[in-house]
Amino acid sequence: MADKPVALAQKRLMDIKLGQLPSWLGTRDFTPNGLLGSVRGGYERYFNKYINVKKGGIGGVAMFLAGYVALSYLWEYDHISKYKLSVLKNQ
Protein backbone atom coordinates (compact mmCIF):
# COMPACT_ATOMS: atom_id res chain seq x y z
CA MET A 1 0.00 0.00 0.00
CA ALA A 2 1.55 3.31 -1.10
CA ASP A 3 2.06 6.25 1.26
CA LYS A 4 -0.45 9.05 1.05
CA PRO A 5 1.11 12.02 -0.76
CA VAL A 6 2.08 14.52 1.96
CA ALA A 7 4.19 17.62 1.38
CA LEU A 8 7.77 17.20 2.52
CA ALA A 9 7.75 20.28 4.71
CA GLN A 10 4.93 18.97 6.85
CA LYS A 11 6.54 15.64 7.70
CA ARG A 12 8.42 15.12 10.93
CA LEU A 13 12.09 14.21 11.00
CA MET A 14 11.54 10.57 11.83
CA ASP A 15 9.06 10.08 8.99
CA ILE A 16 11.19 11.13 6.02
CA LYS A 17 13.36 8.86 3.94
CA LEU A 18 17.13 9.24 4.25
CA GLY A 19 17.55 10.56 0.73
CA GLN A 20 15.04 13.30 1.39
CA LEU A 21 17.04 14.69 4.33
CA PRO A 22 18.81 17.55 2.52
CA SER A 23 15.63 18.79 0.90
CA TRP A 24 13.78 18.45 4.20
CA LEU A 25 16.45 20.56 5.88
CA GLY A 26 15.87 23.14 3.18
CA THR A 27 12.25 23.52 4.20
CA ARG A 28 13.08 24.22 7.86
CA ASP A 29 13.13 27.74 9.23
CA PHE A 30 16.62 28.64 10.40
CA THR A 31 16.03 32.32 11.12
CA PRO A 32 16.54 33.39 14.77
CA ASN A 33 12.77 33.56 15.20
CA GLY A 34 12.45 30.12 13.71
CA LEU A 35 15.15 28.69 15.97
CA LEU A 36 13.48 30.25 18.98
CA GLY A 37 10.18 28.77 17.89
CA SER A 38 11.70 25.33 17.51
CA VAL A 39 13.31 25.57 20.98
CA ARG A 40 10.01 26.60 22.47
CA GLY A 41 8.23 23.82 20.58
CA GLY A 42 10.71 21.28 21.88
CA TYR A 43 10.27 22.56 25.42
CA GLU A 44 6.47 22.35 25.14
CA ARG A 45 6.64 18.80 23.76
CA TYR A 46 8.92 17.69 26.60
CA PHE A 47 6.88 19.51 29.21
CA ASN A 48 3.55 18.15 28.02
CA LYS A 49 4.85 14.62 27.67
CA TYR A 50 6.73 14.19 30.95
CA ILE A 51 5.77 16.88 33.41
CA ASN A 52 2.33 18.25 32.64
CA VAL A 53 0.67 14.88 33.24
CA LYS A 54 -1.71 13.76 35.92
CA LYS A 55 0.69 11.52 37.80
CA GLY A 56 4.08 12.88 36.83
CA GLY A 57 6.93 11.42 38.81
CA ILE A 58 10.53 12.31 39.37
CA GLY A 59 11.45 11.02 35.92
CA GLY A 60 10.66 14.17 34.00
CA VAL A 61 12.92 16.40 36.08
CA ALA A 62 15.53 13.67 36.55
CA MET A 63 15.99 13.17 32.81
CA PHE A 64 16.41 16.87 32.36
CA LEU A 65 18.99 17.12 35.13
CA ALA A 66 20.86 14.11 33.77
CA GLY A 67 21.01 15.91 30.44
CA TYR A 68 22.34 18.98 32.22
CA VAL A 69 25.06 16.91 33.91
CA ALA A 70 26.01 15.45 30.53
CA LEU A 71 26.11 18.93 29.02
CA SER A 72 28.31 20.20 31.84
CA TYR A 73 30.65 17.26 31.33
CA LEU A 74 30.90 18.21 27.68
CA TRP A 75 31.83 21.75 28.69
CA GLU A 76 34.41 20.66 31.22
CA TYR A 77 35.98 17.84 29.24
CA ASP A 78 38.75 19.95 27.76
CA HIS A 79 39.69 21.12 31.21
CA ILE A 80 39.53 17.96 33.26
CA SER A 81 41.07 15.69 30.63
CA LYS A 82 44.38 17.32 31.55
CA TYR A 83 44.28 16.05 35.13
CA LYS A 84 46.70 13.29 36.00
CA LEU A 85 47.07 11.39 39.23
CA SER A 86 50.71 11.98 40.18
CA VAL A 87 50.54 11.11 43.87
CA LEU A 88 51.75 7.57 43.37
CA LYS A 89 54.78 8.64 41.38
CA ASN A 90 57.22 8.11 44.21
CA GLN A 91 56.28 4.49 44.85
Binding site: Y43, F47, I51, N52, V53, K54, K55, G56, G57, G60, V61, F64, L65, Y68, V69, L71, S72, Y73, L74, W75, E76, D78, H79, K82, Y83, K84, L85, V87, L88
Partner: protein, 227 residues
Protein backbone atom coordinates in the same frame (compact mmCIF):
# COMPACT_ATOMS: atom_id res chain seq x y z
CA UNK B 1 50.32 23.81 33.87
CA UNK B 2 49.82 23.39 37.59
CA UNK B 3 46.50 21.84 38.50
CA UNK B 4 44.99 23.19 41.65
CA UNK B 5 41.86 22.38 43.53
CA UNK B 6 40.54 25.82 42.71
CA UNK B 7 40.26 25.03 39.03
CA UNK B 8 36.72 23.83 39.54
CA UNK B 9 35.67 27.44 40.15
CA UNK B 10 36.72 28.65 36.71
CA UNK B 11 33.90 28.73 34.21
CA UNK B 12 34.91 26.74 31.12
CA UNK B 13 34.00 27.91 27.63
CA UNK B 14 32.95 25.68 24.76
CA UNK B 15 32.11 26.92 21.27
CA UNK B 16 32.29 30.43 22.72
CA UNK B 17 29.57 29.83 25.30
CA UNK B 18 30.69 29.94 28.91
CA UNK B 19 29.13 27.35 31.16
CA UNK B 20 28.17 30.03 33.67
CA UNK B 21 25.66 31.39 31.15
CA UNK B 22 23.86 28.05 31.00
CA UNK B 23 24.10 27.62 34.76
CA UNK B 24 22.47 31.00 35.38
CA UNK B 25 19.73 30.49 32.78
CA UNK B 26 18.84 27.00 33.98
CA UNK B 27 16.70 27.81 37.06
CA UNK B 28 14.29 29.67 34.81
CA UNK B 29 13.61 26.52 32.82
CA UNK B 30 12.96 24.41 35.90
CA UNK B 31 10.01 26.49 37.09
CA UNK B 32 7.24 26.36 34.48
CA UNK B 33 4.56 29.03 34.54
CA UNK B 34 1.48 27.75 36.32
CA UNK B 35 -1.41 27.37 33.90
CA UNK B 36 -4.86 28.72 34.54
CA UNK B 37 -6.12 25.28 35.46
CA UNK B 38 -7.50 24.70 38.90
CA UNK B 39 -5.37 21.61 39.47
CA UNK B 40 -1.91 21.79 37.94
CA UNK B 41 0.60 19.05 37.35
CA UNK B 42 2.51 17.77 40.36
CA UNK B 43 5.66 19.76 39.72
CA UNK B 44 3.83 23.06 39.45
CA UNK B 45 1.72 22.25 42.50
CA UNK B 46 4.73 21.46 44.67
CA UNK B 47 6.56 24.56 43.51
CA UNK B 48 3.52 26.74 44.05
CA UNK B 49 2.96 25.36 47.52
CA UNK B 50 6.58 25.96 48.49
CA UNK B 51 6.70 29.49 47.07
CA UNK B 52 3.44 30.45 48.74
CA UNK B 53 4.51 29.13 52.13
CA UNK B 54 7.90 30.73 51.89
CA UNK B 55 6.58 34.13 50.85
CA UNK B 56 3.96 34.02 53.57
CA UNK B 57 6.61 33.22 56.16
CA UNK B 58 8.95 35.90 54.88
CA UNK B 59 6.34 38.65 54.80
CA UNK B 60 5.10 38.04 58.35
CA UNK B 61 7.38 40.53 60.13
CA UNK B 62 7.16 43.15 57.38
CA UNK B 63 4.64 45.97 57.23
CA UNK B 64 2.61 46.83 54.12
CA UNK B 65 5.42 48.82 52.58
CA UNK B 66 7.66 45.81 52.83
CA UNK B 67 5.17 43.63 51.00
CA UNK B 68 6.16 45.33 47.79
CA UNK B 69 9.37 43.35 48.04
CA UNK B 70 7.58 39.99 48.09
CA UNK B 71 8.16 39.22 44.42
CA UNK B 72 11.80 40.20 44.52
CA UNK B 73 12.68 38.29 47.67
CA UNK B 74 10.72 35.17 46.72
CA UNK B 75 12.25 34.99 43.27
CA UNK B 76 15.71 35.64 44.72
CA UNK B 77 15.25 32.79 47.14
CA UNK B 78 14.08 30.40 44.42
CA UNK B 79 16.96 31.42 42.20
CA UNK B 80 19.63 31.00 44.88
CA UNK B 81 18.33 27.73 46.24
CA UNK B 82 18.06 26.24 42.75
CA UNK B 83 21.53 27.36 41.76
CA UNK B 84 23.04 26.04 44.98
CA UNK B 85 21.32 22.67 44.69
CA UNK B 86 22.16 22.28 41.01
CA UNK B 87 25.79 22.96 41.83
CA UNK B 88 25.89 19.74 43.83
CA UNK B 89 25.37 17.64 40.73
CA UNK B 90 28.56 16.22 39.23
CA UNK B 91 30.47 18.32 36.70
CA UNK B 92 28.13 21.28 37.07
CA UNK B 93 29.17 24.85 37.70
CA UNK B 94 27.85 26.89 40.63
CA UNK B 95 27.63 30.59 39.86
CA UNK B 96 27.24 31.44 43.54
CA UNK B 97 30.84 30.44 44.18
CA UNK B 98 31.85 33.59 42.33
CA UNK B 99 32.16 36.58 44.66
CA UNK B 100 31.25 38.97 41.85
CA UNK B 101 27.95 37.18 41.35
CA UNK B 102 27.00 37.34 45.01
CA UNK B 103 28.11 40.91 45.47
CA UNK B 104 25.99 41.75 42.43
CA UNK B 105 23.00 40.60 44.43
CA UNK B 106 24.02 41.84 47.86
CA UNK B 107 25.17 45.41 47.21
CA UNK B 108 22.24 46.73 45.16
CA UNK B 109 19.60 45.14 47.37
CA UNK B 110 21.23 46.28 50.60
CA UNK B 111 21.74 49.76 49.18
CA UNK B 112 18.08 49.82 48.18
CA UNK B 113 17.00 49.14 51.74
CA UNK B 114 19.30 51.87 53.08
CA UNK B 115 18.15 54.43 50.53
CA UNK B 116 14.51 53.60 51.16
CA UNK B 117 15.06 54.08 54.87
CA UNK B 118 16.92 57.34 54.44
CA UNK B 119 14.32 58.74 52.06
CA UNK B 120 11.14 57.77 53.82
CA UNK B 121 12.08 57.95 57.47
CA UNK B 122 15.56 59.47 57.85
CA UNK B 123 15.29 59.98 61.58
CA UNK B 124 14.34 56.40 62.28
CA UNK B 125 16.96 55.09 59.88
CA UNK B 126 19.67 57.14 61.52
CA UNK B 127 18.32 56.20 64.92
CA UNK B 128 19.16 52.58 64.20
CA UNK B 129 22.80 53.57 64.51
CA UNK B 130 22.40 53.88 68.28
CA UNK B 131 20.81 51.00 70.19
CA UNK B 132 18.50 51.87 73.04
CA UNK B 133 19.81 52.10 76.55
CA UNK B 134 23.48 52.63 75.83
CA UNK B 135 25.48 54.42 78.51
CA UNK B 136 26.17 58.06 77.61
CA UNK B 137 29.93 57.72 77.52
CA UNK B 138 29.72 54.91 74.97
CA UNK B 139 27.56 56.82 72.49
CA UNK B 140 30.29 58.15 70.14
CA UNK B 141 32.09 54.83 69.98
CA UNK B 142 28.91 52.93 69.41
CA UNK B 143 27.77 55.19 66.58
CA UNK B 144 31.06 54.59 64.81
CA UNK B 145 30.78 50.87 65.40
CA UNK B 146 27.20 50.72 64.17
CA UNK B 147 28.07 52.71 61.05
CA UNK B 148 30.89 50.34 60.26
CA UNK B 149 28.57 47.40 60.83
CA UNK B 150 26.03 48.98 58.51
CA UNK B 151 28.54 49.31 55.70
CA UNK B 152 29.93 45.87 56.22
CA UNK B 153 26.51 44.27 55.66
CA UNK B 154 26.70 43.88 51.86
CA UNK B 155 30.22 42.56 52.13
CA UNK B 156 29.12 40.05 54.73
CA UNK B 157 26.11 38.98 52.68
CA UNK B 158 28.14 38.35 49.58
CA UNK B 159 31.16 36.80 51.21
CA UNK B 160 29.07 34.55 53.46
CA UNK B 161 27.36 32.92 50.50
CA UNK B 162 30.54 32.69 48.46
CA UNK B 163 32.67 31.30 51.25
CA UNK B 164 30.16 28.70 52.37
CA UNK B 165 29.64 27.29 48.93
CA UNK B 166 33.27 27.47 47.89
CA UNK B 167 34.40 25.77 51.08
CA UNK B 168 31.83 23.05 50.67
CA UNK B 169 32.77 22.30 47.10
CA UNK B 170 36.45 22.32 47.93
CA UNK B 171 35.94 19.92 50.82
CA UNK B 172 33.99 17.56 48.63
CA UNK B 173 36.70 17.60 46.01
CA UNK B 174 39.48 17.11 48.56
CA UNK B 175 37.82 14.20 50.32
CA UNK B 176 36.85 12.61 47.03
CA UNK B 177 40.47 12.82 45.90
CA UNK B 178 41.53 11.26 49.19
CA UNK B 179 39.14 8.35 48.68
CA UNK B 180 40.32 7.87 45.13
CA UNK B 181 43.97 7.84 46.14
CA UNK B 182 43.48 5.59 49.16
CA UNK B 183 41.42 2.98 47.36
CA UNK B 184 44.32 0.87 45.98
CA UNK B 185 46.45 1.29 49.09
CA UNK B 186 44.18 1.00 52.15
CA UNK B 187 40.64 0.00 51.16
CA UNK B 188 39.26 0.09 54.72
CA UNK B 189 40.38 3.65 55.29
CA UNK B 190 39.02 4.47 51.87
CA UNK B 191 35.60 3.14 52.85
CA UNK B 192 35.66 5.19 56.04
CA UNK B 193 36.58 8.27 54.05
CA UNK B 194 33.80 7.48 51.61
CA UNK B 195 31.36 7.49 54.51
CA UNK B 196 32.69 10.89 55.51
CA UNK B 197 32.19 12.00 51.93
CA UNK B 198 28.60 10.81 51.98
CA UNK B 199 27.87 12.66 55.21
CA UNK B 200 29.59 15.73 53.85
CA UNK B 201 27.42 15.66 50.76
CA UNK B 202 24.33 15.55 52.94
CA UNK B 203 25.70 18.55 54.84
CA UNK B 204 26.33 20.36 51.60
CA UNK B 205 22.75 19.86 50.52
CA UNK B 206 21.62 21.40 53.78
CA UNK B 207 24.12 24.24 53.52
CA UNK B 208 23.01 25.00 49.99
CA UNK B 209 19.46 25.51 51.14
CA UNK B 210 20.30 27.26 54.37
CA UNK B 211 22.66 29.77 52.85
CA UNK B 212 20.15 30.86 50.26
CA UNK B 213 17.57 31.23 52.98
CA UNK B 214 19.90 33.21 55.23
CA UNK B 215 20.73 35.59 52.41
CA UNK B 216 17.11 36.40 51.76
CA UNK B 217 16.21 36.47 55.43
CA UNK B 218 18.88 39.01 56.26
CA UNK B 219 17.76 41.18 53.38
CA UNK B 220 14.21 41.07 54.69
CA UNK B 221 15.56 42.01 58.12
CA UNK B 222 17.37 45.02 56.72
CA UNK B 223 14.18 45.92 54.91
CA UNK B 224 12.18 45.62 58.11
CA UNK B 225 14.37 48.17 59.79
CA UNK B 226 14.06 50.66 57.01
CA UNK B 227 10.73 50.45 55.31
Amino acid sequence: MMMSFFDQFASPTYLGIPLIAIAIALPWVLYPTPSSRWVNNRLTTIQGWFINRFTNQLMLPLNMGGHKWALLLASLMIFLITINMLGLLPYTFTPTTQLSFNMGFAVPLWLATVIIGMRNQPTVALGHLLPEGTPILLIPVLIIIETISLFIRPLALGVRLTANLTAGHLLIQLIATAVFVLLPMMPTVAILTATVLFLLTLLEIAVAMIQAYVFVLLLSLYLQENV
